[in-house]
């Protein structure tokens, strides 16, 4: 028999045992969707790789404020822009420590040599590291950085200057992107001397809040908090990515407490997640737009009345319900509402089949036959292109337009849809890279993109003038006005049927504190805590 005192002592012991984890190291487990391609974000373009590298291990000169698309100083404390907008001088932060790993102990703090190494490696084809690890810097190339940058100059140990070939206001936003992270030049030199240059990309050394401890492909990635992180040590001690490819299994792990945060939930599980007492279901509109691009170079789609009429024939609400199952929002502008300069005042083409018929008759279009291209892949901005195409096809049939649905393998689809003489209307979309409106408006609708990323082949001078002017003005308020006007011009001319912006859902367990959804679709764990 246990007497009262004994029971009390036992109770105290139990309480001590149960509360022990409160004093133990805090480990946050993230159920991620796949293995990273590597640990150097300069070499890759996928978000899974960025989550495991740039967003935990490294810092850039400029970064995005967590949970927003606003840039903030990071490894650069400030920057000056020359009057002609062609020179950006970055003043670097002092006292920033690199990680100490099993193979490398840094002997100095971060300085201009690291910035020079990180950018020259991508930019200079003769750099000794340029061809290491395959040397495909697709994001750097994709953002036209080789053409944009004229020179990179080390002014002194703590100052670096970028000289551009032309003024480019989105340059600062570009510098916040994942490819612009800073690697250690001292580590690269050490690896070059040891004849193991690839290690720089496999066993990363950065300045970021977490450092890599272990990785097993398709199983896990382990990080520990960087004790000397310049913004202060992360509230959690360890970060584990449990690579779990199936969304249903990720949810089961979340429910079982085997992970704290999960990515990409199944739309079908959202209801259950919202009701789950152990889970907080966070949501935010994604930084993307899904659209149907008319080929404005081909008849009868060169007539704005036809494009407007077809826009008015489509019931977008039904598409959001059927295709996005609630995880989407009707798009009226070509940029998502999370981007600055989004024009709330524009008016969407109303759903009005009768008016559409009249407009088609007015344009002299009768018995129109066309096609709708449906993407063969799922994308956040379009989870089921085939279904979307079928709904548009049915809506158009009601106004007398017969549309055939076509599809190709993804690579072919992307290639063929660029053709200026393309017959048919293309379903596609875009996810933003740097939170700058230029990244949507100039890339997708600018005259330079005709026959390429501008699937509507739409080159409209009033619109083009506005976005070109916005590229060279550095004042945000002025740029905002220009982009707002550009959106009105876009809406009047209707080169696209703007369909939807997705809504991103992020289930996290209740014990997770201060997790913020990243508008770029990433996962940033600095600042996140466990209770």
């Amino acid at each position: 028999m246990i007497n009262k005192a004994g029971a009390f002592a036992l109770g105290l012991t139990m309480a001590a045992v149960l509360s022990a984890p409160a004093f133990a190291a805090k480990t946050l487990v993230f159920c991620s969707e796949g293995s990273p391609s590597g640990f150097n974000p300069q070499l890759y373009t996928d978000g899974t790789t960025f989550d495991a590298s740039s967003r935990q291990i490294y810092n850039g000169l400029v970064e995005f404020e967590r949970g927003t698309t606003k840039t903030r100083p990071s490894l650069a404390t400030k920057w000056d822009v020359s009057d002609d907008g062609k020179e950006y001088t970055f003043h670097l932060r002092s006292g920033v420590k690199f990680h100490t790993t099993k193979t490398f102990t840094p002997s100095r703090d971060f300085n201009a040599d690291d910035v020079m190494f990180s950018f020259r490696r991508q930019w200079d084809k003769n750099h000794p590291y340029h061809k290491v690890s395959g040397g495909t810097y697709e994001y750097f190339n994709g953002m036209s950085m080789p053409k944009l940058i004229k020179d990179i100059v080390k002014v002194d140990d703590m100052t670096v200057k970028f000289v551009l070939n032309r003024p480019e206001a989105p340059f600062i936003a570009n510098m916040g992107m994942d490819f612009a992270r800073v690697l250690s030049a001292e580590y690269a030199d050490a690896m070059a001397k040891a004849g193991t240059m690839e290690k720089v990309d496999l066993e990363p050394v950065g300045t970021g809040p977490f450092q890599l401890v272990g990785y097993q492909k398709d199983a896990f990635i382990r990080f520990k908090a960087h004790p000397d992180y310049w913004e202060g040590k992360a509230p959690i001690d360890n970060l584990v990515f449990a690579i779990t490819k199936d969304a249903s299994v990720r949810y089961q792990k979340l429910k079982a407490g085997e992970c704290h945060v999960m990515t990409y939930p199944n739309p079908a599980d959202l209801d259950a997640m919202a009701k789950d007492p152990a889970v907080n279901l966070l949501s935010q509109e994604g930084l993307n737009v899904g659209y149907l691009a008319y080929n404005t170079m081909m008849k009868p789609f060169d007539d704005v009345r036809v494009r407007k009429a077809l826009n008015m024939a489509v019931n977008k609400k039904a598409i959001i319900d059927a295709v996005f199952q609630g995880a989407g929002k009707i798009a009226k502008n070509p940029i998502p509402p999370t981007i600055w300069s989004y024009n709330e005042a524009t008016v969407d083409d109303p759903y009005d089949p009768e008016a559409a018929k009249k407009l088609l008759a007015e344009a002299g279009v009768k018995d129109l036959k066309t096609s709708i291209w449906a993407m063969p892949v799922q994308r956040p901005y379009n989870p089921n292109a085939r279904r979307m195409a079928e709904l548009i096809q049915a809506d158009w049939a009601k106004v007398g337009v017969k549309a055939e649905i076509v599809s190709f393998e993804w690579g072919e689809y992307l290639k063929r849809s660029k053709d200026k003489k393309r017959d048919g209307n293309v379903l596609l979309g875009w996810t933003g890279d740097n939170g700058d409106p230029d990244n949507f408006l100039a890339v997708l609708l600018g005259c330079d993109g005709v026959g390429g990323s501008n699937r509507a082949n739409w080159c409209y001078k009033p619109f083009e003038d506005l976005i070109q002017k916005a590229k060279i003005v550095s004042d945000i308020a002025e740029r905002t006005k220009l982009y707002e006007k550009a959106q009105i011009a876009f809406k009047e001319q209707a080169p696209w049927l703007t369909v939807a912006h997705s809504v991103v859902f992020k289930p996290v367990r209740k014990e997770v504190k201060d997790f913020k959804i990243d508008p770029f679709g990433g996962h940033i764990f600095y600042g996140v805590d466990l209770q």
Binding site: G134, Q252, A256
Partner: protein, 334 residues
């Protein structure tokens, strides 16, 4: 026996050449250009496209590319993955032990249950037991792996909390892999509870992957045993007054095993195919899922390298099965 082995080996050389051609050609026949896929919606400029083609060697004649690949394979060099920039052989060898570990456990599970169940069903032919075994094995055979895996996870991990949901070991344990086999590495690590955790993580994937081979083995054993039990020499053995255990265990089973071993060999291919789904559901870091991912990315080097390696393994296993026939039934050697 050596002559028998050489005859079998002789057949393997043309098969191997055929496999390299199929593996090399298969991924290239699929529509889709890896460089365009790499660019995605962002696209790749024509200049950059040409540069990448040259860098990756895609601008050379297809025959030259094939012979380069074949020479590499013969030297043990399978090239570098287009997407991860890592040597294909290295990636394969990192992931393969996980697939082997799971497959061996699944095969042991399938044999331990399937073989006795089949024997008993044959011996008790027409009884309720026989019908039950055959009913269960038919169900097991027709079970979609994905659905079956999720069902077990929801029941045993979600509702009952008996087994972990997925992975190879709890994140409480961390050690550098030595052999790549988690059961062995967890023992070598000396960490208390690591081996137990590794075993508990193996239970559900083993059952899911082993279900189809178990059903096939049970059915094949039953029919092989039924055939053998009707033979004259079994009747003679019975007439001699031998015990039923001796008749079944020694005389009948040994002859029935030929069929069962064939099935066993064929199931290795089935296991590797099933591993793709099982590995996906249970986040098991094996080669099945790796190849599928590589196909989607049109990662030519990984797909062709992985397929050749897997085909070689299946060929070797089948060679071993053929040699086992010779041991079980010496008449086959002649």
């Amino acid at each position: 026996m050596i002559r028998f082995f050489l005859t079998k080996l002789d057949l393997l050389i043309p098969t191997f050449i055929g496999v390299t051609i199929v593996a090399f050609g298969f991924i290239r026949l699929l529509p889709g250009d890896p460089i365009l896929l790499l660019g995605g919606e962002r696209g790749v400029s024509p200049e950059r496209y040409a540069e990448l083609q040259h860098q990756l060697g895609f601008d050379r004649h297809i025959i030259v590319q094939y012979f380069d690949f074949l020479t590499g394979v013969l030297q043990g060099d399978l090239g570098t993955s287009f997407s991860t920039k890592q040597p294909v052989m290295e990636e394969f060898l990192t992931l393969f032990p996980a697939t082997v570990e799971l497959s061996i456990c699944a095969m042991i599970f399938a044999t331990l249950i399937g073989l006795p169940a089949g024997i008993l069903a044959a011996v008790k032919r027409g009884t309720a037991y026989d019908h039950t075994v055959m009913g269960i094995s038919l169900t097991g055979y027709s079970m979609p792996i994905f659905w079956w895996g999720l069902l077990l996870i929801i029941l045993f991990s979600g509702m009952l909390g008996w087994t972990p949901v997925s992975g190879r070991i709890s994140f409480m344990f961390f050690f550098e892999p030595v052999t790549g086999f988690m059961l062995i590495d967890s023992l070598l690590s000396g960490q208390e509870g690591a081996f137990r955790s590794a075993v508990s993580h193996l239970i559900l994937p083993t059952i899911v992957l082993g279900t189809i081979p178990m059903a096939v083995i049970a059915r094949q054993t039953r029919s092989a045993m039924l055939e053998v039990l009707g033979e004259d020499y079994i009747r003679t053995a019975r007439a001699k007054g031998l015990s039923p255990a001796r008749i079944i265990g020694l005389h009948a089973l040994r002859n029935a095993l030929i069929t069962v071993i064939t099935v066993f060999g064929l199931q290795v291919g089935v296991l590797l195919a099933g591993a793709i789904l099982t590995e996906t559901i249970f986040s098991w870091p094996g080669v099945g899922k790796w190849i599928v991912d590589s196909i989607f990315r049109r990662d030519y080097q990984s797909v062709q390298g992985g397929l050749v390696l897997i085909a070689c393994i299946v060929m070797v296993v089948n060679l071993l099965v053929d040699l086992t026939y010779g041991i079980v039934n010496p008449r086959i050697r002649r």
